[in-house]
Symmetry: C2
Subunit: 306 residues, 2 copies
Amino acid sequence: MTKFSILILGSASAAPTLARNPSAQLININEQYYLIDCGEGTQNRLRQHKIKFQRLNHIFISHLHGDHYLGLLGLLQTMSILGRTLPLNLYGPKQLKELVDMNLAYSHSTLKYPLIFHETQTNQSEVLFENEHLTISTIILDHRVPCTGFLFKEKPKPRKINPKAIKRYEIPKYAMDNLKRGLDFSFPDKNEVIKNELLTLNPDESYSYAYCSDTKFNERIVPQLKDIDILYHEATFLHRDEKRAEATYHSTAKQAATIAKQANAKLLIIGHFSNRYKDLNVLLDEAKTIFANTQLAQDDAVFEMV
Amino acid sequence: MTKFSILILGSASAAPTLARNPSAQLININEQYYLIDCGEGTQNRLRQHKIKFQRLNHIFISHLHGDHYLGLLGLLQTMSILGRTLPLNLYGPKQLKELVDMNLAYSHSTLKYPLIFHETQTNQSEVLFENEHLTISTIILDHRVPCTGFLFKEKPKPRKINPKAIKRYEIPKYAMDNLKRGLDFSFPDKNEVIKNELLTLNPDESYSYAYCSDTKFNERIVPQLKDIDILYHEATFLHRDEKRAEATYHSTAKQAATIAKQANAKLLIIGHFSNRYKDLNVLLDEAKTIFANTQLAQDDAVFEMV
């Protein structure tokens, strides 16, 4: 069973409070960590959750509003002080690199590890990262500054060998890889074909997670999110504050739920809450009127794929 | 009695921990607030101490190492979001302004209040701020990048009227201001002079506070610190790590105490502790061998002038 979890390190919008830190999420996919956004204090939040900084190899920054990146410099520098030598991959808008470089230059500092910067395109979706198991792509959002979300998609997993069937049909070991790939089997010296489904079990499910913050209501992202397992969508405002949402290029809880419904998501988690709402249940209740399986992405919440 | 207190918001050196935040101190002089340095998370620290952000009108940044300024942008932006309209004075090295401007430009943001930037000279001491009661000057430190400390000095206070003497000598009200200034009194129609000291009491003491972080051992600052009431001096290292201190332009506890002794300080507080020392008493004990009245400037500590 794959591990695929999302730890909410921050759920505030622009002005953080003691209860809600600025945006940051730690994605754990089979013990590989991916950090999405890095608001002020993220290094502290990682320490609170006993996450070893050096296990982070990929940091994704959605856009250059302070509540999404002002913790990055501190984290990069602390990693260096703590002795990191492994390369670190940083994904974000072009100017993020300039900001990092300028801060380092003015502090007469260098990082003791290679920082590999990957500039995100803000006009069309692209694959940022790919390995045997996973692709990570951008989602083009509609915000006051260029902004991308991130789509984590596990690749189809191998079929699982059925040990009892293997024994019964006396299948040789060399055939296992092809069976996992879904191929049928035949003995070299016989004409008989043994169907793959007699020898294997269905693979584990492949999960997907989408992070959509910050954005105004934008139905153009729906096709990319089709049948997503967990959709994080910002819900800065209640729908009664729709005009404020529109003006600031943010979404309401109702709008987030509408995207989840259209995308046929399995679970919607909402976050990036304006601190005008003391009781977040008003946002949750509003979203649930449109999309029942909604939860609050509050600080310290963990969501696991099931 | 004047209020003059120093609240330690952060005592860590470059790599903060859960117990120690990066550098920041809040100086309260008769309910006027002054913030010195603004490491990552300072806005959170101010909230923890229930300090209203809008009461801050002066922020002083010693130098451009991340642990001394990375919380500034977030604080400036939160002040704006919370509706500040009053001007804010920011004092620091020239490039601080560039960093602030660049971050704001890339986030397509403006502050909703005037930010008045005062560039600090890094080659000679200067008065940064002066009012009726107080001057704030820079102290030229010796660090890896240009760095200034800050010297808070109350001006001499007015002599206090002695009500009994005023009654006895039947001194008219119009004379009070001159008496507070220390002048003698004579009735317009008499030749007799009544000495000031018969009519007034000694003024309250005028206090001074010096913030010296970060710096290597530098005796050139001693004359400026002469007879200081409270000296904060960084003590990043133990003296057994003197070479490391020298290489990184920091001080040892022994060196901090030597400066305090030479300056004839009343109290030394040490901070900016390297996180290699789990028990800070080793630093305290080392300083005390040279200068007995030393205390640790740990997070949340408050020092009051007495």
